[in-house]
Symmetry: C2
Subunit: 265 residues, 2 copies
Amino acid sequence: MATTPFPLTDTLATAGETGTVAGVTPAFSPLYQQIKVLILQSLQAGEWKPGELIPSEMDLAARFRVSQGTVRKAIDELAAENLVVRRQGKGTFVATHAEHHVQYRFLRLMPDSGDANSEGPAERQIIDCKRLRAPADIARPLALRTGDAVLQLRRVLAFQGTPTILEDVWLPGGPFKGMTAERLATYRGPMYALFETEFGVRMVRAGEKIRAVAADAASAELLKVPVGEPLLSVERIAYTYNDLPMELRRGLYRTDTHHYKNELS
Amino acid sequence: MATTPFPLTDTLATAGETGTVAGVTPAFSPLYQQIKVLILQSLQAGEWKPGELIPSEMDLAARFRVSQGTVRKAIDELAAENLVVRRQGKGTFVATHAEHHVQYRFLRLMPDSGDANSEGPAERQIIDCKRLRAPADIARPLALRTGDAVLQLRRVLAFQGTPTILEDVWLPGGPFKGMTAERLATYRGPMYALFETEFGVRMVRAGEKIRAVAADAASAELLKVPVGEPLLSVERIAYTYNDLPMELRRGLYRTDTHHYKNELS
DNA sequence: TAGTGGTCTAGACCACAGG
DNA sequence: CTGTGGTCTAGACCACTAC
């Protein structure tokens, strides 16, 4: 199929001429990148839901009228970004936070001995959950305007009886309309899985800023440490598709029995 | 060239039969993985030095008697691991820490405003540099025996006049024979670049464990903070080829004007 | 103009999963 | 047995760099 030399050139964004006539940016992108964007749009539009099987490489190649190898390269990049998961013999699936193999995909806190799975699931306790108008320092990172409605959640995670993480979570009121403390408390599984299934919001990547701070009175009581105890302060902004921020999270981690693990390359 | 159907099968590790006769592990690896290992061995053996050009994909394909596409896939993975750098129109180069584009490839500490380049180079001050016999807690992470010779270095990094990082570095005595405080003090550029050029040791990846701790008297004085001030404790183990640990580094970071930045996906 | 990496195609075969 | 992703090949052409 597709005997034309440049199958998509007139269907998709052609991008500047070869000679870069006068364009500021070349604005050229290879075919497989354009295919990647198309698949991304289908993911974003919910054509295939988290956990579901997407069409085979051959089907997608036919749909976009390119060769299977070109689709393959597009999917390779999506898989590298953890947006889809390939399973040989089965197909390619939309990634999800609901796989119980890795319960907290973005949590880098590890017990000092053993791995994340060796200590069992965290005990979760919701301290507070309320709706409020976003102050400036909350609105900004969420790309909202000051005063917009946001949902604030405070909770404690304990491992083997020891409270270890105290975190505040802020969510934009719009996409998370209908969220309640009840729903959060009764849900088994990662918070991000609930976001997917109940609100159609998929967290795709995140950035964290880490600092060392001293425990204040409130934090100290909840984490059962002395006031002034050094704690790891972890501010996370999580993004959906299109780099849209969808969650702000400020966590305090005890690092007496756990540590934040990071791999560099 | 290479009209045989399985060019490398009898030259390289054939790996178990298709049926997985009785092997515990399949021990099968695709051709491009075997090529990758061969290129890796050449890198490790120093056939091409850091910063140098490696043979073209066509040359390597001829050398290993495989197609260009297979070599390409091997190099793709090496590039993804930051072991080599591809430059279109020029060739593929061995990665190095000496490129002044990124002065500290493994340092994740960023100024709160602006990027890493906006504050200029760090001012370095060597506090101490001595040879000693490794205690158990130093020998272990470096895969040495207790009592083996190691080199210990203590230094302070300051940004715009503010001392921000205090770190102790331990290096195995063998590979770093001849290292002196003088050499370290006079060298311009990243420490890892010196390791490459003077000792032929290339740091390829690293792992970090991060904690929050309180400044003790000695640290407080060197970093000019009050005793008890919360500091980020960053323990890094850096590895050469073959996952061989070659450096242990324990750093204390001030996080009042800087933060540790991490990207999750 | 020559050589390099980058893209795209088409077709073959292998490994794996499931009916 | 079929269909999926995974590997490998061969050849074409494009984009960039340097001489």
